[in-house]
């Protein structure tokens, strides 16, 4: 029984790490522009898909190079999304921006369908598939890649926002756009950086996890929803909350799948999310909001 639980924890931490990265991407965009970007899951899918296809065939690029190229590609998509879909609709209502990003996600999915087709795609593991045994539980090297990669990126994001001028400038924009503008910060440019960073996190998440979970043109939908759930669970707008929410959601789902029913694991995740919201309407680590009247 103990080994079984350990196994569920390993699986849960791995999926949770990916949810955390997607949720972190949501949070960065939300903080910068008050937009919930439903196309976040598509960044994940595109990162994975383009890596697979750049590395495919006899003349394919080596994996690290393919991965780097696709990350750059996805960053460009993120920047284009900000510039041509989000920026022109500035000041639109919450519902309108939600539909714009959903439209963008459908559009990107459509593009992926045209370029890469409907098939499920696999990617080679980074460092072999020889399992590591911990007691009776097993761990693939790729699980370590996912967890380690996520930890590095979370630390990197933390460093970026708290110790670099650019990061602090984005934070300033999210606190008060006009004041930031008056301080000489190029708000428009900072928005582009935020979307690019968010796309980078998504693409990296996709590349890290695809050897374990495979990918297809519509793989981004559920990941996007899960990332949004994780961000809300942790408290929308709080980066640490997003990471904690992601890990927690991954663990809950893995335990629910193992101990209760694998068919209902997604439903159980959402039920727990709803219960948390009923008790704490702004998530686990969210700020209590108060309305100005």
């Amino acid at each position: 029984m103990f080994d079984q639980i350990l196994q569920f924890l390993i699986t849960g931490m791995t999926t949770g790490a990916i949810y955390a990265l997607v949720a972190l991407g949501f949070t960065i965009i939300y903080n910068a522009s008050d937009v919930v970007n439903f196309a976040q899951g598509e960044f994940v899918m595109m990162g994975a898909m383009s890596t697979i296809f750049l590395a495919a065939g006899d003349n394919g690029l080596p994996i690290p190079l393919a991965a780097a190229t696709s990350v750059v590609l996805v960053i460009c998509v993120g920047i284009l999304l900000q510039r041509f879909a989000i920026a022109p609709a500035r000041g639109a209502s919450v519902v309108t921006t939600i539909i714009i990003t959903i439209g963008a996600s459908i559009f990107l999915r459509g593009v992926a369908l045209v370029i890469w087709g409907k098939d499920i795609q696999a990617m080679a593991h980074f460092s072999g598939e020889i399992p590591i045994h911990i007691g009776n539980a097993t761990l693939l090297p790729q699980n370590l890649w996912v967890m380690g990669g996520t930890a590095l990126m979370v630390l990197g994001v933390h460093y970026f926002f708290h110790h670099t001028m650019q990061g602090k400038a984005i934070l300033a924009c999210s606190y008060n756009r006009d004041a930031a503008n008056l301080m000489g910060i190029n708000v428009g440019l900072m928005m582009l950086v935020a979307y690019g960073l968010s796309a980078l996190l998504g693409a990296m998440a996709g590349i890290l996890v695809t050897p374990i979970s495979f990918t297809s043109y519509d793989a981004g939908v559920m990941l996007g929803l899960k990332g949004f759930s994780a961000a809300i669970l942790g408290g929308m707008g709080n980066p640490m909350g997003a990471v904690v929410g992601g890990l927690l959601l991954g663990l809950i789902e893995s335990l629910a799948a193992g101990l209760i029913s694998s068919g209902y694991k997604d439903a159980i995740g959402f039920i727990i999310l709803l219960l948390v919201l009923f008790i704490r309407p702004s998530g686990l680590m969210g700020r209590r909001s108060s309305d100005r009247v």
């Binding site: 022109p88 519902v95 539909i99 439209g103 559009f107 990107l108 809300i232 209902y264 919201l277």
Partner: protein
């Protein structure tokens, strides 16, 4: 009076179409779907447009109604009319129970909670195979009979759905102009202000949530009897999003706008079939462009355009910007 005029025009259009184009696929089949979607969009608009509460899970209530009818008639041999009532009762209870905790939430949290509710319902529809038939759905749902008249052909359904649409429009128009309708609109303006005026906002929100769920459940049952076959695909997260898009496309808080939104979003996929592989891409692109350039909805944009053209034609152009007529009563 203005609202009655709209209702009469709608009725004339609905009657004239099948006379002008008899036995046309786009009238009897697609037209019926438009009417069905229009009723759903109007019910969602009550919640989103008038009360200002976003919901990304409206398809769940539509699904609960459809499955209640399908299960009761196929597995328990209930009378279809009785099963429609039972479906509405079940939906009403579920909506009433979740309304309070869900509507306490605001903004993105409310969006997430309703989204989560919709997904939970659609997972249950897929997983509870013993009752729902799982991903394959339920078939052989008996047709509906009214006073000995069996509704069977596409044209019959066109008549039924159009009648339902007219009834719902009439009902919603009366509601909006009533005392509770004004309370609802006050809520949209400012919840705190509404509360100060002595409106019990919690109970108003709960009531409108339950009402919109009941309407969705009712047409869900009709849908099940019309199709004779249902599967979870028809009640997924994507359908909820489509409904929200219809409402926004029509311009929030406009009943006729919601009908217009339903019209556009039902016909669009029919027309995009010609793009074959590019269909998904084109659909997403159109959705994005419409919302970017007409954030208030296509209907309002069109209305503005027409009133401006009208004014320019009959009067010399005025330097003041054109006002947008009907939608001002909710501002």
């Amino acid at each position: 009076m203005k609202r009655i005029k709209g209702l009469i025009i709608l009725a004339i259009i609905l009657i004239a179409l099948p006379i002008l184009f008899p036995n046309n696929y786009f009238i009897t089949v697609v037209g019926t779907a438009v009417a069905l979607h229009a009723v759903l969009a109007i019910s969602l608009n009550l919640l989103m447009g008038y009360a200002g509460q976003i919901s990304l899970g409206h398809a769940a209530f539509f699904g609960i109604g459809a499955y209640s009818s399908a299960i009761l008639t196929t597995q328990h041999q209930w009378n279809p009319l009785l099963s429609i009532g039972a479906g509405m009762l079940i939906t009403g209870i579920i909506a009433f129970v979740i309304a309070r905790p869900i509507l306490k939430l605001k903004g993105h949290y409310l969006a997430m909670a309703t989204l989560g509710f919709g997904i939970i319902v659609s997972i249950i529809l897929v997983q509870a195979g013993n009752f729902t038939g799982g991903p394959d759905g339920l078939s052989d749902i008996p047709p509906l009979a009214l006073f000995g008249w069996t509704i069977s052909s596409d044209f019959h359904w066109y008549v039924v759905m159009s009648t339902v649409l007219l009834l719902i429009v009439w009902l919603v128009n009366n509601l909006i102009d009533s005392r509770s309708g004004r309370a609802l609109r006050a809520l949209h303006g400012s919840e705190v202000a509404a509360e100060m005026m002595g409106i019990n906002t919690t109970s108003v929100k709960t009531n409108v949530f339950v009402l919109s769920a009941l309407i969705a459940s009712f047409v869900g049952s009709l849908f099940a009897h019309q199709q004779a076959f249902i599967s979870p695909d028809s009640f997924s997260f994507f359908f909820s999003i489509e409904l929200v898009t219809m409402v926004v496309l029509g311009g929030l808080a406009s009943t006729y706008g919601a009908i217009f939104g339903a019209l556009v979003l039902t016909f669009l996929p029919e027309l995009l079939v010609v793009f074959e592989d590019y269909e998904v891409m084109v659909f997403g692109g159109i959705l994005m462009l419409m919302m970017i350039f007409m954030p208030q909805g296509l209907f309002v944009a069109l209305e503005n355009l027409i009133s401006r053209l009208y004014r320019n034609y009959f009067n010399p152009p005025l330097p003041v910007p054109a006002s947008d007529g009907e939608n001002h009563d909710v501002a």
